[in-house]
């Protein structure tokens, strides 16, 4: 993340600028070095001036005084604005000049001066890299050798060799340190960028406000919720949070935290009134975080849109009411007939008929409870299907016959002479067909024919259940597989049902890795089509065996893992 948003509390000013960059340390070092160099240049200029009468190279001393000194001052004033390489090169040039002047002025101190020269050499390596360091070191050593030779050979070969070795070692050490610094900087940038991406793409809206209740930062989900980038806007205007009918006041700190009475609010149910949008029920949690400058407090708000939860809650309440009603109807019938057969004067024929009715109603109760239990298993992810090779036509024929007998409706089955087997589970397929045919029976006229068609394509087997019923609008068709959903809630009392039949169908079909679609129009009936994988062409025919490729083994990586080195796999 190269950019961050920063605001000032009082004026609510938002400015975007670079976050603390990796150059920060380099700039600080370059400034320190440049200012120190001014002192050194001043010292040597003065020392050279004092020794001027004995000077052998006055031109060098003039150069130092009239070029080196002002240049070093200029560098000290502009080091933070120059490129590191330019700064290093200029500094190295001045250092070489200082070295030359000091050597010609004080040739007897050649070894000491040369050793001291390692310091600017290190700096040159650090700021300008290994090449500049080597160049500076080479020039420096050449100056030392030339001056020593000119001054009578006061530099022994051993000292010269040691200095060269020291120079290379220094450059290597500094270069390595620089490399490590660069690596840590890269990592820091990486983590910063990663944190930024995570923040931006969090599914939950996240908003950061300052101590004065002004928006400082928000992620993409928050912008979607609030309709625009609210940076700098007062919290009350952007979010407009209300708890019940009370407006949350954030002007003197976070109102939610004030209500919670702690630094972490936990979840507080509220309603957001974003400007220009409808009210959104949200679960807000607020936590205090240190401000960008380390002192100011900021508040991190996580806003969870609970509209769907509320809708689901409402649907569940409706479902409970419907299921209770569904259960109550057969129970009432059973209770009535129990009272009837309790009469001693009841005719034997009527008694047998009553028992038959009670048995049918008991089976109905059992069916409702089975459906609810199945929906619960699907919900909790406990639905496990044993997918095997299945011949679908006999199952379809069986279910069509059974339901035609039970409902007295005309249900036709049309299947290809040869239908290939599919990958599925017998019981799940029977349940799917039962629900779809039952659904067709409920929503189509009694005299209408319901048709079940089994066909097959290159890769799949299609089972279609068609009815000539009321049909659905496109909007209704989009939601018909939702849990607890019914096209017209008022029809619950008319046709019965709990709104979970089609949800169960879709869940079972998806568990068999198939798909279901609905084609419907108002007044033209509905056509539900299930597509399941053909067993004879499926790649997953060998069920239970893993086809995952064996990962490429490397003894080097394997060994690293064993001795506790963290292995991170990334793929470009």
């Amino acid at each position: 993340m190269d950019k961050s948003v920063v605001s000032e509390c009082g004026g609510g000013v938002i400015r975007r600028g670079p976050s603390p960059a990796a150059r920060e340390f380099d700039v600080a070092a370059a400034l320190l070095v440049a200012r120190s160099r001014v002192l050194v240049v001043t010292f040597f200029t003065l020392a050279a001036a004092l020794a001027f009468e004995e000077a052998t190279h006055p031109a060098l001393q003039y150069t130092l005084a009239f070029a080196g000194l002002p240049l070093s001052v200029a560098l000290a004033l502009s080091a933070d604005r120059l490129r590191p390489t330019a700064c290093g090169a200029m500094g190295a040039g001045i250092d070489a000049l200082i070295l030359a002047v000091s050597l010609v002025t004080f040739p007897e101190a050649v070894a000491t001066i040369a050793a001291a020269f390692l310091v600017p050499l290190l700096i040159a390596s650090y700021t300008g890299g290994r090449s500049l360091g080597l160049a500076t070191g080479g020039v420096g050593l050449a100056i030392v050798v030339i001056v020593a030779a000119a001054g009578g050979g006061s530099l022994s070969p051993e000292v010269g060799l040691l200095m060269a070795i020291a120079m290379v070692v220094c450059i290597a050490v500094v270069s390595r340190a620089d490399q490590l610094l660069a690596r840590s900087t890269r990592r820091a940038r990486f983590h910063e960028a990663r944190a930024g991406i995570l923040f931006e793409h969090l599914a939950e809206p996240v908003v950061v406000t300052d101590a004065c209740g002004r928006m400082k930062q928000c992620n993409g989900a928050a912008r979607d919720l609030l309709g625009a980038d609210p940076a700098g806007v007062a919290c009350a205007d952007a979010l407009g949070l209300r708890i019940g009918s009370i407006m949350v006041d954030c002007t003197g700190g976070c109102g939610i935290l004030a209500i919670a009475g702690s630094r972490d609010s936990g979840g507080v149910e509220a309603t957001a009134y974003p400007s220009g949008s409808d009210p959104v029920p949200v679960l807000v949690s607020v936590v205090e975080v240190p401000g960008s400058d380390g002192s100011e407090i900021e508040y991190l708000h996580t806003l969870r849109d609970i509209t769907k939860l509320k809708l689901a809650d409402d649907a569940k309440t409706l479902f409970l009411a419907t299921v209770t009603h569904e259960l109550k109807t057969p129970l009432t019938v059973i209770r009535g007939f129990l009272e009837t057969i309790d009469r001693p004067d009841l005719d034997q024929e009527l008694r047998v008929e009553a028992i038959g009715v009670m048995r049918r109603r008991a089976l109905e109760l059992s069916s409702i409870i089975d459906r609810v239990l199945l929906a619960s298993r699907i919900d909790s992810g406990r639905l496990e299907l044993d997918v095997v090779v299945v011949d679908v036509v006999p199952i379809a024929r069986d279910r069509v016959d059974a339901l035609a007998g039970a409902t007295g409706r005309a249900i036709a089955l049309r299947a290809e002479t040869f239908t290939p087997p599919l990958l599925g589970e017998e019981a799940a397929l029977a349940t799917i067909l039962d629900h779809l045919i039952d659904n067709a029976c409920k929503y189509s006229p009694v005299e209408a024919t319901i048709e079940v068609v089994v066909e097959f394509g290159d890769d799949d087997v299609q089972i279609t259940v068609c009815d000539e019923g009321d049909g659905m609008t496109a909007e209704q068709a989009n939601h018909c597989f939702d849990r607890f959903w019914q096209a017209d809630p008022t029809s619950r009392r008319k046709v019965g049902g709990s709104g979970i039949g089609l949800f169960i169908v879709r869940s079972l079909v998806e568990s068999l890795q198939g798909s279901i679609t609905v084609d419907s129009a108002p007044g033209q009936g509905s056509r539900f089509t299930i597509r399941l994988r053909r067993a004879d062409v499926s790649a997953d025919i060998r069920l239970g065996e893993t086809d995952a490729p064996t990962p490429e083994r490397s003894i080097v990586r394997e060994f690293m893992r064993q001795i506790g080195i963290d292995i991170r796999e990334t793929i470009q």
């Binding site: 080097v556 990586r557 060994f559 690293m560 064993q562 001795i563 506790g564 963290d566 991170r568 470009q572």
Partner: protein, 252 residues
């Protein structure tokens, strides 16, 4: 004693050299995918100095060029099973197997291992001092052995620390890790014994040993640097390498 030591040394030499070849093969296989591996290169360097070192010792013993010292025999006997187990696990890993076994805390021999190794190391050092009492000379060639004692000791120490850390986290031991943790200190002790025998005038350094040992010094230093760098995160290797090969799309 001489024949036993010679056979064990030659076996170890072959084992380590083979491991070096295996690592070269693995490096060549993984080069395109992960690039250069310092860790792999350090192992190759170690394997091609340790392997020839043991081979040379064994061959010299068999040819009767020098006697066998009891301390050297003890070190090789202790290091032999650890080295062979470790090598066999590497072979298993290369052929697609696990390459390791997890030893639960309840596995009794593991519990006794620190005590046994403590007794062995302590006794070995006392015996070495006993040898050094008969000091005759201090040949400069001993320097390589002493350097290797320090380097192998440090590597062993880092390995031990890692194994303890892993054990604290997982509650179990890695057989491969334990084997390697035994190998390095044993190598250090063997070089200490060699140096002691040289100082006491019992062993005479021959040119092969000196050359191999001086190659072993930078190899061990390189290995130590890589090893520490990998834990400190300052060395980038195959552990965090990007897979640069193009993946074919999955069929399903």
């Amino acid at each position: 004693m001489t024949v036993t030591l010679a056979i064990l040394s030659i076996t170890l030499g072959l084992v380590y050299t083979s491991y070096g070849i295996m690592t070269i093969v693995d490096m060549a296989r993984g080069w395109r995918r992960y690039g250069f591996s310092h860790f792999g290169m350090a192992w190759i360097a170690m394997a091609f100095t340790c392997g020839p070192h043991h081979l040379e010792h064994g061959l010299h013993l068999l040819s009767g060029n020098r006697p066998a010292g009891p301390l050297e025999l003890v070190a090789v006997i202790v290091g032999f099973p650890a080295g062979v187990i470790w090598f066999l696990l590497r072979v298993e890993a290369m052929s697609g197997g696990r390459g390791d076994r997890v030893l639960a805390d309840s596995f009794r021999p593991v519990r006794w291992l620190p005590y046994l190794f403590g007794v062995y190391g302590g006794g070995f050092l006392v015996a070495t001092v006993g040898v050094l009492v008969r000091f005759e000379q201090f040949p400069p060639m001993v320097a390589s052995n002493l350097t290797l004692v320090v380097l192998y000791g440090l590597i062993g120490w880092y390995l031990l620390r890692t194994q303890l850390k892993t054990h604290r986290a997982s509650g179990a031991w890695s057989l491969s890790g334990i084997a390697l943790t035994i190998v390095f200190p044993t190598c250090a002790l063997m070089h200490a014994a060699w140096a002691a025998y040289q100082v006491a005038g019992r062993y005479e350094a021959d040119v092969h040993t000196v050359i191999i040992d001086w190659f072993a010094v930078p190899a061990a230093a390189y290995f130590l640097w890589v090893f520490r760098g990998l834990y400190a995160g300052t060395v980038r290797d195959w552990n965090e390498a990007t897979d640069r090969t193009e993946r074919e799309p999955a069929l399903v």
